[in-house]
């Protein structure tokens, strides 16, 4: 049994005019075997949530807790969080020139497992993961994300998810920039991962499109740094029909 608990998480960023509060108390719990979706309008704080859990230095945690199986994630360094079992697929994966995908993946796998992967099976595993994401095996000798198209970057993130096999995965807008075929490929990859024993998934998205392929157990509507409503998959259908207006309207009225 594992659990990722986010309790009353408050986060701000430094701006030229001082600290700006972005997350105003986010609470949610994901158990293994569950898939949660966070949906919300642009700028509502979805990526901030993801990055804060992963430990991006830009975000200041001003309150609240994040616990992975009871361990305080916020006290861990970025790489310790990953070694504890967290994985973040980024909305904008970063290019690292001169570092080959294969070198990167092997280094990451070694760091996560505490020992280097067996050479023979590893090459096969890497090629298999790329192949399932419909990425040519030539990608393993290319520099990390460098010159990848938007869609290729997203598929490479899921190939990493497949290979690195974390306990909890946070996928930030993995669906943006994907055409329908790529969306299916990526969704298959996500579903394969989610079907593994003991995995939890937090899927952040702006659109309901991907939720036709990856079925969430719980949907959270994110507005202005808070969860405005949580519900079952039917909440996604309602958002599909009516958009975020209802929530944004409420917020505007409240100001």
């Amino acid at each position: 049994m594992s659990t990722l608990e986010i309790k009353n998480l408050q986060v701000s960023v430094d701006t030229e005019d001082g600290a700006k509060e972005i997350l105003k108390g986010v609470t949610l719990t994901i158990k293994d075997g569950e898939t949660h979706a966070i949906m919300g309008p642009n700028g509502s704080g979805k990526s901030t949530t993801a990055y804060s859990i992963a430990g991006h230095p830009k975000y200041q945690i001003t309150g609240g807790e994040v616990l992975l199986d009871g361990e305080n994630v916020l006290e861990m360094s970025v790489d310790e969080r990953a070694r504890a079992g967290l994985f973040l697929a980024m909305q904008y994966p970063v290019e690292v020139p001169g570092v080959s995908m294969s070198n990167f993946l092997r280094t990451a796998k070694t760091a996560l497992d505490g020992e280097a992967p067996k050479l023979r099976t590893w090459v096969k595993d890497v090629n298999g993961a790329l192949d399932r994401m419909k990425l040519d095996t030539a990608f393993s000798s290319r520099s990390v994300n460098e010159g990848f198209s938007g869609g290729e970057k997203k598929r490479a993130e899921i190939a990493q998810l497949d290979l690195l096999d974390p306990k909890f995965a946070i996928l930030d807008e993995i669906d943006s920039g994907l055409d329908i075929d790529a969306l299916k490929v990526v969704s298959d990859g996500i579903n394969d991962y989610a079907a593994r024993e003991g995995k939890g998934l937090l899927l952040i998205t702006h659109y309901t499109r991907i939720l036709r392929y990856v079925k969430p157990d719980v949907v959270h509507v994110f507005v202005d740094g808070r969860i405005a409503e949580s519900g079952g998959p039917e909440l996604a259908d309602e958002l599909e029909a009516n958009g975020y207006e209802k929530y944004v309207g409420t917020q505007a009225a409240g100001v």
Partner: protein
Amino acid sequence: MTAEVLEGALEQVESHLHPEGSFDVDAHAVPTGREEIWRFTPLKRLRDIHANAPLAGTSFEASFDAPDNVRADRHEDDSLKGVSGLVPWDRISARALAEATSSLAVTIPAEAVLERPVFVTIKGTGTDEATAAHLVIRAEKFSKATVVLRFEGSMTLADNVEIVVEDGAQLAVVSIDDWADDAVHVGHRHIRVGRDAQFKHVDITFGGDVVRHDTTADYSGPGGAVEMLGLYFADAGQHIEHRLFVDHTAPKTKSHVVYKGALQGEKAHTVWIGNVLIRKVAEGIETYEENRNLVLTDGCQADSVPNLEIETGEIEGAGHASATARFDDEQLFYLRSRGISEKEAQRLVVHGFFNDLIRQVGVAELEESLAATVEAELAKNVLAGAL
């Protein structure tokens, strides 16, 4: 001496990029450190080679390994001094040329295509006496070769390397300064590039206390191309300086210069001066120069000065770029978010920064050993303690 032939054909330029040279040592005053060409160099650490220290030292072993058709001759006279058009532009170069008791000439015969590189290795065995050296590399017409110069050990060396790339020849010179920590090396390299000839300089500077390379190139005919790739790594207290000058003295010539360096530790200092002059006659040329520095810790200084002077309106392309940056936090975050420790992530980023350049070396049999040399240097340094 042969330099006048080319000079005569060109208009006089009043460019500060092109200081008056002279073979006469006394024409070069002992530098004080205030001169433009010396203002970055720590003269105090030069063991007086810039002043009057004797340069007759013999504390080194030289070795030479080449295919049979390559000639190596030692000339015990002055006949080869200035053969590439080199006219010393500073006192150390003038002294080194005047005081070298012989010249080693490596000649790749016309039309020869070497199946393996030529290796010239200088291994210093002491720093007390300074040494003057003069090396001439001549790639005769339509030959194709790679020459690797390796500098190792402890030494105080002032040298001139003159390189003549004859018409249609293709020559790569890979120079590796992998000195011990106490070495001082100040050298001038001059390259004369013939008609339609191609020259590539791969200049790797790692070790030593003070290493300064002045590298200059000009063209004796149209169509020549020069590529200069540099890679340097300065750690605490080290001074590494590169002064480049590409003088586009002929039409339709090309130059492409990319130097990348990393610095780490208190008082690590690197200097890169990239001067390009495009003469009036040099119509239709292309030039690009770039210098990038990666500063790994506080207390380092990277000076970078690109300089492009254009005297003709008829050029194909000219550009330059210079940037000095710290680690990119986003890159480190990305790598670390996959479980890679901070040190290891830094090592990967630096490795990648250099690897980009190593991929451009294009000398297949050397790329691997260069990558290994870089790895070893990285392991020795910052990156000590990683994994």
